[in-house]
Amino acid sequence: MAAARGTVVGSLLLKYGNRFAGSHIVTTAVGRQPVSRQICTSCCLLRKNLAAAGPEKFTEEFIKQQVEEFNIGKRHLANMMGEDPETFTQQDIDRSIKYLFPSGLFEKKARPVMKHPDEVFPKQTAIQWGQDGRPFHFLFYTGKQSYYSLMHDVYGKMLAVEKHQDRLRNKGLFSQDTNQIALVGSRWLRKEELEELLVENISDNDYARFIQLMERLLSMPYSALEEECVQRYRRQLEVQSSKQEIPPLQHDQQGAAFSTAVGRRKTATASVVCRDGGSGKMTINGKDHLQCFPVLQDREQLVFPLHFVNMLGRFDVEASVSGGGRSAQSGALRLALSRALLTFLPDDQVEHVRQAGLLTSDPRVKERKKPGQAKARKKFTWKKR
């Protein structure tokens, strides 16, 4: 398909492109390339001498051309799948590619992908110098012009705020209690996000200095003047519990409320039915919980969710569990029980439960055995000679 003709693989080019990075192009870090295998590659990739094939591939027109091709390709794909091209979203594209090119590769990043060129081609800076070879930016020769220019700008703003404060002091209108910028619920940009914004690499020290500078700006009483500048470098924190899935409340024939939930830990799966208006009994696989878990530790794990929300004697719990060992089974039951209990709780208690760690599924699984070692970590006996 003409539309499906891919372009060069970004990473390969950039790897060779970086050899010349010092003199020509300031490119982004290689490490976080979205390694995407385009549908077909052109043979010009395989050329070793890429001096001529340097920056042209990533010029503005090139990117624009890629975008057009992508859009056309999207429409063709929509037609192929029999869907409406106007309302064909990226999710639909992913779904269709997965259908048309099924891949069994384990590495998700190695599978076929069709994404917008902005996501595929890393952001690049344009050429930084003019015809005469003189760089445009006055901080070009620092090597990290965007970063230093940012620091310079922020410092300039700080000086402006100090000047404003001095003026107020002269007039006698200076007061300590002014409106401060609302910082609750937001966080500073992470180092990766800052790098993305500046389109250049910065070191940990640089990032730390940047944060220091911003904090110093905020510490001044009249920093509210530069609010938009500060907010540009802050991101909102999401409220985690809004993403929590609460199982729906169901009613059985007698009218008693109950809820069902599933939990997993290592290889054990547990499914729990929590019925309201009970006497605090717990049945697991038809047996008593005392019979099932003779060890106190396992029973304590079961008791923890109920005890935390103070509903020990209220529910009748019927559970079934399989797989894993005794700890895994009790952990799976605990998770399933916490999830089932969420239905009966008010929202703020849901947040408490989440913060108590009852709703986090334990990601620890058995580590694989490595070749050349006896077990996952244990090595064979080391012989000096």
């Binding site: 008593d288 005392l290 019979q291 106190l296 029973r299 304590e300 008791v303 109920l306 103070n310 020990l312």
Partner: protein
């Protein structure tokens, strides 16, 4: 001395618990209403009635105290080891009055002793209180003047035996001198007064030089067994035979005749497997042990004038999985056929009232150290974690 102080402390417990158990007996209510300086019916988890014959449904869930005298006589070897530790710690012996024991005592009161002996069997999950119910029933039997033949744990006779002598009486059988002599010692402590009134009916020859003539008292027989350890197993056999013959017969000092209570804890050991080995490393079957052989004869209901009270036990049993507790499973085919017909008495975990009572008892004894376990939530947690099983609850409270 302590009773007065006790009442002051317990008044709090009483006022807390009063609203929960307002449907207590008339005895309790009038006692609480009177509220004198002397402590009367202490609190609802204790009762002053220490005679098992007078225990009734009203006392269910309450603890009654065993006097030290009775303790030394009746139970030199009968009580479970954890209970003995508890006795030592609390400096008193308190047993809870529960429904299975009361049921058994009522059966014993109403039984016809001219008919063959009825066999009762306590069964239930591990740690639900079978042995203590058995001891409660035995206390009743002893206070009624019966002769109590109590084998505290039949499992002890089929495992971990240091010495196995080939029996002189029958060459294919094995004797256990140490166990037999120890048991005879304890038996004598329990039944001394009655034994001196009973006489042997035949002559027993132990060795070339020793014999017991006809008409000697059974106390002498027991002495003989205790001193001559080698023949103690045979003495036990002879003793059992004598008692079987004389049960129900008229006796001096008793109009209704001799009543015999045979109490065996862990009766499933008689028909299970042993962990003992002969010299050629082959396994010893239970029938090949003299003590077990004689005891099996005792368990048959071919004698009158008494009762056989037994309880099953998985805890000490050999080669049985952990979760079996039903008579069929623990006794096996042979055992069930031998014991059939019997009256099964199920023992279950604590009911709500009983668990409440147990918790208050531990609180009263200052046994619960953790401050959280003294709150209402702590109590719910304890009861949930132990699932109201008496043994598990006791262990849990001991560590909290």
């Amino acid at each position: 001395m302590t009773l007065h102080r006790l009442s002051l402390r317990l008044r709090q417990a009483v006022s807390q618990a009063r609203h929960l158990h307002s449907s207590r007996s008339g005895q309790q209510l009038e006692a609480l209403a009177v509220e004198p300086e002397l402590p009367k019916e202490l609190s609802f988890f204790r009762t002053r009635e220490s005679d098992p014959a007078c225990h009734a449904d009203v006392h269910m869930g309450q603890y009654y105290t065993l006097s030290p005298v009775h303790l030394r006589t009746i139970f030199p070897h009968g009580l479970p080891s954890r209970f003995q530790l508890q006795m030592k710690t609390f400096n008193e012996t308190c047993v809870m009055v529960r429904q299975p024991a009361l049921e058994l005592i009522s059966h014993l009161k109403k039984a016809d002793y001219s008919k063959p002996a009825v066999r009762y069997m306590f069964y239930g999950v591990n740690g639900c209180g079978k042995t203590l119910s058995l001891c409660h029933a035995l206390h009743y039997c002893h206070t009624q003047g019966w002769l109590v033949l109590h084998i505290p744990d039949a499992h002890l006779w089929v495992k971990n035996c240091k010495e196995l002598l080939p029996s002189s009486f029958c060459p294919s059988r094995f004797d256990q001198p140490i166990e037999a002599s120890q048991w005879l010692r304890n038996f004598k402590i329990t039944n001394e007064p009655v034994l001196s009134k009973l006489k042997t009916t035949q002559r027993y020859v132990w060795t070339k030089r020793e014999s017991t003539e006809e008409g000697r008292t059974l106390a002498e027989l027991v002495e003989q067994g205790m001193s001559r350890v080698r023949t103690s197993s045979d003495v036990v056999g002879a003793l059992l035979k004598e008692l079987r013959l004389q049960a129900g017969k008229p006796m001096e000092g008793r109009e209704e005749g001799l009543r015999l209570a045979v109490a065996v804890d862990g009766v499933n050991a008689l028909w299970g497997r042993t962990s003992l080995k002969k010299e050629d490393k082959s396994v010893v079957a239970p029938e090949e042990l003299t003590l077990i052989h004689n005891l099996r004869k005792m368990m048959k209901n071919d004698w009158c004038g008494g009762a056989v009270i037994s309880s099953l036990s998985q805890t000490g049993s050999l080669f049985k999985p952990k979760d079996v507790f039903l008579p069929q499973e623990l006794l096996g085919e042979d055992g069930f056929d031998d014991m059939d017909p019997f009256v099964p008495v199920p023992v279950s975990n604590y009911s709500e009232k009983e668990s409440e009572s147990c918790y208050l008892y531990y609180m009263d004894r200052n046994w619960l150290q953790h401050p959280h376990s003294r709150t209402e939530e702590g109590k719910k947690e304890l009861l949930f974690l132990s699932n109201r099983n008496p043994n598990v609850l006791e262990r849990l409270c001991a560590s909290h």
